[in-house]
């Protein structure tokens, strides 16, 4: 399998990372060598294996659905690149 520039453009769009031509070529080279390395997994037959999603041998605990943090609007807004005290501000999305 080979990752071409078209695929790189597609992944770039999905991951919301802009990629110019030069960067795309470098990425295609890197990703191809990494995937060549990953392809080794195809040597294994895993048809009857259950996928492992968590190593923690415990069942998730239930907890009551209660608000733990109250009145933290200021804390939440504090690190935003742009806000108007009450809301995050983003470039205009509705014409």
């Amino acid at each position: 399998m080979s990752i071409d520039l078209k695929t790189i453009k597609h992944i770039s769009k999905l991951s919301r990372i802009s990629v110019d031509e030069q960067k795309a070529e470098k990425l295609a080279g890197d990703l191809n060598s990494i995937f060549e390395f990953i392809e080794k997994l195809n040597e294994l037959n895993t048809d009857k294996v259950e996928p492992l999603t968590s190593v923690a041998e415990t069942t998730l605990k239930f907890r009551s659905d209660e608000v733990q943090s109250k009145n933290i609007r200021e804390q939440i807004i504090k690190n935003s690149p742009e806000d108007n005290d009450d809301f995050f501000v983003v470039p205009k999305v509705v014409e």
Partner: protein, 485 residues
């Protein structure tokens, strides 16, 4: 006392308890040495004057019942610290000031320790040499121009170079153990679920664990005792009976069964690593333990599995960096353009590479072939360990396939960089605890480490084995202070 910074944590604690040293004296000694050690580039953010103020305050009314009374400590810059900048080594978090504290660091301050500053690391903990940090690479105190390993490279260099008595790092695929091995110190990656992940900048959530890094095993045990706790704020934190690791530490490992996995004898492994391993085997035998040959047949599939699972989780975790809620923002013509430019300018090359691998293996049409496949192989790898642990109590391997390499040597070859973690990654995939201890030197005098892997929740067991081996090895780190003018 002329050389405070060369004392172990345990000795510093005793000196404070016996009132032979004050917190201020100790804190000033580490601040002073840190100030003289800028060339190592261990710190991203310093909090020295606050640290000295806190030390003075501690001395006025010292609580000597605490486990870390008035002990100064720098921590990896992946732990959120309230009102102290936390960058994860990334431009995208260059100005991020958390409004809350990670559970692990809170546990440390609750026992009386004092923050010195935040230590350099690979960007979002993605790297094995600390070269992916936005804040520049870290020098290994062992020799100029040598990487300290990664991703907890600043942490390893700070302990090895005596800028902090002990520290904490995080380990997703070897990020505590590999730098510990490269800098001649001890590093423990605890069982998954032992230390809370709350307030740690997330990389790969099913693999990430915080852990202690120290000059010796006893210090490592003490710090593990402090940081490990059940935490409701982390849904994968596990409620199990934790030992008092430092108090229960013993060198008596007679009759313990230690497994030697034949698959770790990889092609092209340097002879000095093989020799070190043989020496390690002899040491545990000398301690009265029994050596048993075991097989972990799927070992060679661990790295390819890791390089699907970890980037997949990272691509999801790092989706939150969008230039809206916090962190860096680049200007764009519209919302989407802003997202794309923010992430392209805010993330470094390795992080972008991993986000893209992760996005690809989770994308429509490829999920089954890559991500699901990797989760199945992960199960096989865990089964290997389960099978082995029917016969043995712990497993002994080298920590890394080589000693520390030169800065720049592997930077442009991602796969060769990834191979660094070949002995450490299987442990994270299976959620096991493992410790790296310094065990010898290569021909250049660079340190080499051995790894002891335990059963889940059996940190005490591997700490004991490490403690017994440490005495036999009597390792001396060759630090020349070359960076101090």
């Amino acid at each position: 006392m002329s050389n405070i910074t060369s004392l172990s944590l345990t000795s510093l604690v005793n000196n404070i308890k016996n009132k032979k040293l004050s917190s201020e004296e100790i804190t000033k000694a580490f601040v002073d040495r840190s100030e003289k050690s800028k060339e190592l580039n261990s710190y991203i953010s310093e909090d020295f004057s606050n640290a000295i103020d806190k030390a003075k305050k501690f001395d006025q009314n010292p609580n000597l019942n605490l486990k870390l009374p008035g002990i100064p400590m720098a921590v990896k810059d992946l732990f959120c610290t309230q009102n102290i900048r936390t960058t994860a080594g990334s431009k995208i978090l260059e100005n991020f000031i958390p409004t809350y504290e990670s559970t692990v660091t809170q546990n440390i301050w609750n026992e009386g320790a004092i923050l010195l500053g935040k230590l350099n690391c690979d960007e979002f903990a993605m790297g094995s040499s600390n070269e992916t940090s936005f804040f520049g690479n870290v020098q290994n105190p062992i020799d100029k121009g040598l990487v300290p390993g990664g991703s907890s490279g600043g942490s390893a260099a700070a302990v090895s170079g005596q800028l902090t008595p002990v520290t904490i790092g995080t380990d997703t695929g070897g990020s505590i153990r590999q730098p510990a091995s490269f800098t001649g110190i001890v590093g423990l990656k605890p069982t998954y679920g032992s230390c809370s992940r709350y307030g740690i900048v997330a990389f790969a959530s099913s693999l990430d664990q915080a852990g202690p890094m120290a000059q010796n095993v006893e210090d490592c045990a003490l710090l593990q005792e402090v940081i490990s706790s059940y935490d409701k704020k982390d849904s994968t934190s596990i409620d199990f009976k934790r030992n008092e690791y430092s108090k229960e530490l013993t060198k008596d490992i007679k009759g313990k069964k230690i497994g030697i996995p034949k698959e770790y004898r990889i092609d092209g492994m340097p002879k000095e690593i093989e020799d070190l391993w043989q020496k390690g085997i002899q040491y545990v035998k000398d301690c009265g333990a029994e050596i048993i040959d075991i097989s972990l047949p799927n070992t060679s599939y661990a790295l390819p599995t890791y390089y699907i699972v970890a980037p997949a989780e990272a691509s999801s975790n790092l989706a939150r960096y969008d230039g809206v809620k916090y962190g860096f923002r680049a200007n764009g013509e519209n919302l989407i353009d802003m997202y794309e430019k923010t992430r392209s300018e805010g993330f470094g090359a390795e992080v972008q590479r991993r986000i893209m691998i992760g996005t690809y293996v989770l994308s429509s049409g490829y999920y089954d072939a890559y991500y699901l496949k990797a989760q199945k192989v992960r199960k096989l790898i865990k089964n290997d360990f389960d099978e082995a642990y029917k016969k043995v109590d712990a497993i002994l391997t080298p920590s890394t396939p080589s000693s520390a390499f030169k800065i720049g040597e592997k930077k442009d070859d991602p796969v060769s960089m990834y191979l660094n973690d070949i002995f450490t990654v299987p442990v994270n995939l299976a959620g096991l605890p493992a410790i790296s201890i310094p065990a010898g030197h290569d021909a250049s005098g660079y340190p080499l480490g051995l790894q002891i892997i335990g059963k889940v929740f059996k940190e005490q067991e591997i700490l004991n084995i490490a403690y017994a081996m440490e005495e036999k090895i009597s390792f001396k780190n060759k630090i020349t202070d070359w960076w101090i003018k």
